[in-house]
């Protein structure tokens, strides 16, 4: 198992390098000259050449890539064209805000999704099963940005109970467990939790139903084990694949909150990406994408290793 973990760790390295390569290519995929954003309107050919040399764009592509990669590896993503501040100091607070929202949302959806999944998986009544499945399908197929708008309409416009946008006082200071900060969190967190809740409810239900059909459950019943103990056995057997799904959902939330953040003007990575795209601030875009993708890869890695440790049946040499 240690060998597997080591190999899995080593394999992550080329993936991350591949990610940086894709992000590097962004600058050359974008239409127009990569430096056009920093050029004055009527720049002469000399000035253009000077600026190109200053940014290193006069070098051959592999040299440019390696130089850039070296900087990135040292935490230097260049500076934002818009604010002229280092990209890293723009990205990190945004990542923290996104993580705060994503963690709240994922806790919510773990609690709700697993409960719903267990209830419908253990229930033998058709109506319970049907309603949970229906809810799960809705959760999976609802366009979450639209759901966010509907929430705003109901709770902010019609009921005037909750704020429609922003992070409240936490936008300017560190997030604290106060009612004012919490109020701003409710709508975006519920909206963001919708998809993972649906996915989880559905997979827990399927998993439990499958394990319940296995022969060992019959044996346990036959030898007269208490229902509570049988329940524990079933949970233990369904846990590993569910954990993998949970990890994947959390990872998707980190990168997938862009649309929801836009609806609620949440100052996270989605907000930053939007700003970067609108102003064609490519270094900022690259930095944000690399940081998010690295988090994504790390979460997947963590889940994989955790799964191997929890489930002795998974033998990966």
């Amino acid at each position: 198992m240690h060998l597997y973990i080591l190999r899995r760790l080593l394999y992550t390295l080329p993936i991350i390098i591949g990610v940086t390569f894709v992000c590097f290519s962004f600058i050359h995929l974008a239409p127009g000259d990569p430096i056009s954003a920093v050029l004055p309107e009527n720049a002469s050919a000399e000035v253009v050449a000077q600026i190109k040399a200053a940014y290193g764009f006069d070098q051959p592509l592999p040299v440019q890539y390696l130089r850039w990669l070296w900087n990135v590896a040292n935490g230097d993503f260049g500076s934002s064209i818009m604010t002229r501040r280092p990209v890293i100091s723009e990205v990190m607070p945004a990542v923290a805000n996104t993580a705060l929202l994503a963690i709240t949302a994922i806790m919510l959806s773990f609690a709700l999704g697993i409960t719903l999944g267990l209830v419908s998986g253990f229930s033998d009544r058709r109506i319970t099963d049907r309603s949970v499945t229906g809810f799960a399908v809705i959760g999976i197929s609802v366009p979450h940005y639209w759901l966010g708008m509907v929430m705003v309409v109901i709770f902010a416009v019609l009921l005037r109970a909750l704020p429609a946008t922003g992070m409240g006082p936490a936008g300017t200071r560190i997030w604290m467990f106060t009612w004012e900060d919490l109020r701003h969190m409710i709508l975006p967190a519920i909206t963001l939790a919708m998809i993972p809740t649906g996915v989880l409810a559905r997979s827990v239900r399927a998993m439990v139903a499958e394990v319940r059909r296995q022969e060992f459950v019959q044996t346990l019943k036959g030898k007269g084990l208490r229902r509570g103990r049988i329940f524990l056995h079933i949970i233990k057997n369904s846990a590993p694949p569910i954990m993998a799904i949970m990890g994947l959902q959390f990872a998707q939330l980190l990168g997938g909150s862009i649309l929801v953040e836009t609806v609620f003007a949440w100052p996270g990575t989605g907000f930053l990406l939007n700003a970067a795209i609108a102003t064609r601030d490519l270094p900022l875009l690259q930095g944000t994408v690399i940081v998010l993708a690295t988090f994504f890869v790390m979460t997947n890695l963590f889940v994989d290793i955790l799964q191997t440790m929890v489930d002795p049946r998974v033998k990966r040499a």
């Binding site: 591949g18 399908v137 366009p143 940005y145 708008m149 997938g256 795209i277 994408v289």
Partner: protein
């Protein structure tokens, strides 16, 4: 050559056998019948057909001109005289624009998945069939794209390439190629080790011939079933790109773009603002349930 042709039917009975006992007809016919027997799937199919037909025939059935603006009739509430669903922020008829919107929004859900199925399918079958170094090369590149959350990749690509329907089509296709390649690779690897493929190879059939005649017939089902489950996601993400202003450009009628422009009016005309989302939702739920039913029907074979 004739030997290879004889080997082909050997591939089929595996898929056909259970059906032959009950009724005649091919595998796909049986799957079709099964899907139509499922009431939920039938309702979804009808809903989708209605949305698609109303989008196709929008110029003939729409009550108004989708581009005709009027400063006087802005944001009329639904059920106003002459405007059943009200008007948008520029005074255009909502119903008309929702009907027209289906054209871009539905195509942008189906087209990327279609292209990705062709490209990803080809890549995955190649990787699965040839194995070894070819497999390594293709699947490791796919792994890199797997390292991006799908929404992030779509938004970043569309953002880099610039707004527009064509660019968002490219980025969405790129998002769906990796998962389809993975599925295609894994089913092809299974099929490749079957006896009938071995037999075909023994008779001297070329790789191209084996892939086209034996492998393709047996991997199309699983690949298509998987691809069908992506259409619902594609509709949500592509409308999401338009919602961010990265997809269709104004004044084109597109559900995501309508949500974007109407969002500013959310306090004045909340009902109008959320209406386009109902269409996205309806289309996405229907595709999702239909795909579920298709998967259940296909599983009969396994």
């Amino acid at each position: 050559m004739s030997a290879a042709a004889e080997a082909a039917p050997a591939a089929r009975p595996a898929a056909n056998a259970p059906g032959r006992r009950r009724r005649t007809g091919g595998f796909w016919q049986r799957v079709g019948r099964q899907v139509l027997r499922d009431k939920v799937a039938l309702v979804c199919a009808v809903v989708l057909a209605l949305i698609a037909l109303s989008a196709i025939f929008a110029p003939w059935i729409a009550p108004a001109d989708p581009y005709k603006t009027s400063m006087l009739r802005r944001l009329l509430p639904p059920l106003s005289p002459n405007f059943i669903l009200g008007t948008d922020e520029l005074g255009r008829d909502m119903l008309t624009r929702l009907l027209y919107g289906g054209r871009v929004s539905l195509s942008m859900g189906i087209a990327p998945v279609l292209f990705a199925t062709i490209l990803g399918g080809a890549l995955g079958i190649t990787a699965g069939y040839f194995g070894k170094a070819v497999n390594m090369a293709i699947m490791r590149v796919v792994d890199v794209f797997y390292a991006f959350p799908s929404v992030l990749l779509a938004v970043a690509m569309a953002g880099v390439l610039g707004a527009g329907i064509f660019n968002s089509l490219i980025s969405l296709t790129l998002v769906f190629i990796p998962p389809i390649t993975r599925v295609a690779e894994s089913v092809t690897t299974q099929v490749r080790n079957q006896d009938y493929v071995e037999a075909a190879r023994a008779t001297g059939a070329s790789s191209v011939r084996i892939i086209l005649q034996h492998v393709l017939a047996n991997v199309t089902g699983p690949i298509l079933t998987y691809a069908s489950s992506l259409v619902s996601i594609a509709i949500i993400i592509s409308s999401g790109l338009s919602f961010l202003g990265l997809g269709a450009a104004p004044p084109i009628a597109d559900w995501g773009l309508m949500l974007n422009t109407l969002r500013q009016a959310i306090y004045v005309a909340p009902i109008n603002a959320v209406l386009p989302g109902v269409m996205i939702f309806a289309a996405s739920v229907s595709f999702n349930l239909l795909s579920d039913s298709l998967r259940t029907a296909m599983d009969v074979r396994a």
